[in-house]
């Protein structure tokens, strides 16, 4: 895996993979969105159930992105791979976007279902805190001028965040439990009908690939920016 951590080799490989990845993402979105609209209205939620198809995958990817951020941070701290650091740096704004998307779509779903855009329930609140963790990471990263220091400080913060995240989750759950329980991943199989499950999984796959597509684009841009800066400095000297 580390063989591809060399920026030059990464650029070659990612350049070849990227068009395919983007293409598959687009196809999955087309299929997922089609299935989302083709699904029958839920007997309780009516057409609002369709918000779930764009909400739930956003929430999944937002959490996955934080896991990715923490893993990349760990690799950048322990193995000192510059590419891992770039990956962490570029994953953070994406994760923040997916978190914000999950919050916005969640509150749009909450208005007709709960009668309020916002309720202080466990999952909403811990997602709001997740957004703050992302924003803290991005702010710390941007505030430190020295690139190497910024990388290390941000990596430590990301690791503290990933240790604290389950505790925050637990404490917030403990604090209040108004949200409906788990309905997909639980013993005894999913409790939602297959007509809703397929669009959900298609959208989840689409969102995940979208995250990685955008991540690769961002990493490539970052590497190119560094090269451009190095060249400019070379010419100036």
């Amino acid at each position: 895996m580390f063989a591809y951590a060399n920026p030059k080799r990464f650029m070659e490989l990612s350049g070849r993979v990227l068009p395919w990845l983007a293409g598959v993402t687009a196809i999955l979105f087309a299929v997922g969105l089609y299935l989302s609209f083709a699904a029958p209205p839920d007997y309780q939620q009516g057409d609002t159930v369709r918000i779930m198809f764009i909400h739930v995958p956003a929430a999944w990817v937002a959490m996955m992105a934080y896991g990715f951020l923490a893993l990349a941070s760990l690799i950048s701290l322990v193995n000192r791979h510059p590419l891992a650091d770039v990956a962490a740096k570029q994953a953070a704004p994406l994760g923040a976007m997916f978190t914000a998307l999950a919050l916005v779509t969640g509150s749009l779903w909450g208005r007709p279902m709960w009668g309020a855009y916002w309720v202080w329930d466990g999952r909403l609140t811990s997602f709001l805190l997740l957004l703050f963790l992302y924003l803290g990471y991005i702010a710390l990263r941007n505030a430190i001028e020295s690139e190497t220091r910024a990388a290390k400080a941000a990596a430590i913060l990301a690791l503290i965040g990933v240790v604290n995240l389950p505790i925050i989750e637990f404490s917030v759950q403990w604090w209040t439990t108004l949200h409906q329980g788990e309905s997909i991943f639980r013993a005894g199989g999913p409790t939602i009908a297959a007509v809703f499950l397929w669009p959900l999984f298609a959208m989840a796959a689409a969102y995940t690939l979208l995250f990685f597509t955008l991540l690769i684009v961002r990493i490539r841009t970052d590497i190119l920016e560094r090269r451009a800066r190095a060249l400019t400095m070379g010419h100036a000297a």
Binding site: G136, A139, A143, T148, R149, I160, N164, I168, S171, W175
Partner: protein, 221 residues
């Protein structure tokens, strides 16, 4: 060990003498708690219900106040470089400074808390719970705050960034701390104080190592 004690004593002295942060943090703590009734109304029943939450939020905010100078003052005037050369390890420096922060903010405001609880009409039976929750929980504020202070060391106005870094991480302490008092008021046993103790213990144990790591890379350049 004697160097550790010397450093601890020095920081406590610096914080408690003229221009130090200890009294300011305490005054800020009292001021925040006093402001709240003006904002939400003085109805005794309402105040009794929110008193613990107010005191806890005021404690968290007061804890933040002195954080940005925790390492920065020594970093700017070069003392931190000298400390790094001293026999005390980075972990020792971190632990001494965090302990000094707790002794000069967390502990005094815990001692002051019954007075604020009185002003906010907290029922007497919950005083001890509030006191114990602050005694235990403020150590987590110093511990987590210490790491954040070390991470933002090289930022000129790092203090502005601290709340964004620290507050989300401290939510569990706030939830369990204020929750313990509410449970006491409602006569339920929910173990909140034990969750708080566990949270603080982990924070206090890990903090010196993480803080030391942050100090190391900040001084390395």
């Amino acid at each position: 060990m004697s160097a550790f004690v010397a450093l601890l004593a020095r920081d406590v002295r610096l914080a408690t003498r003229a221009g130090g942060s200890a009294m300011l943090a305490l005054a800020f703590f009292a001021a925040v708690a006093t402001l709240v009734p003006f904002g939400i109304g003085s109805e005794p029943k309402l105040l009794a219900r929110v008193a613990a939450g107010i005191v806890w939020i005021a404690a968290v905010l007061a804890g933040l106040l002195a954080l940005d100078r925790l390492f920065q003052a020594d970093y700017e005037d070069g003392s931190l470089d000298l400390l790094a050369l001293s026999p005390v390890s980075f972990e020792g420096i971190a632990a001494a400074k965090i302990a000094a922060h707790w002794l000069t903010t967390g502990l005094p405001l815990t001692i002051l808390s019954p007075l604020l609880a009185l002003l906010l009409n907290l029922p007497t039976k919950a005083y001890i719970t509030l006191f114990v929750s602050l005694l235990v929980g403020t150590s987590a504020i110093s511990a987590i705050g210490g790491v954040a202070a070390a991470l933002t060391l090289s930022i000129r106005r790092g203090g502005l960034l601290l709340p964004l870094l620290v507050l989300p991480l401290l939510t569990p302490a706030l939830i369990f701390g204020a929750g313990a008092v509410l449970a006491k008021l409602d006569r339920i046993e929910n173990g909140a104080i034990w969750f708080l103790a566990a949270f603080s213990a982990v924070a206090v144990l890990l903090s010196p190592f993480l803080t030391a790591a942050a100090l190391r890379f900040n001084l390395a350049e």
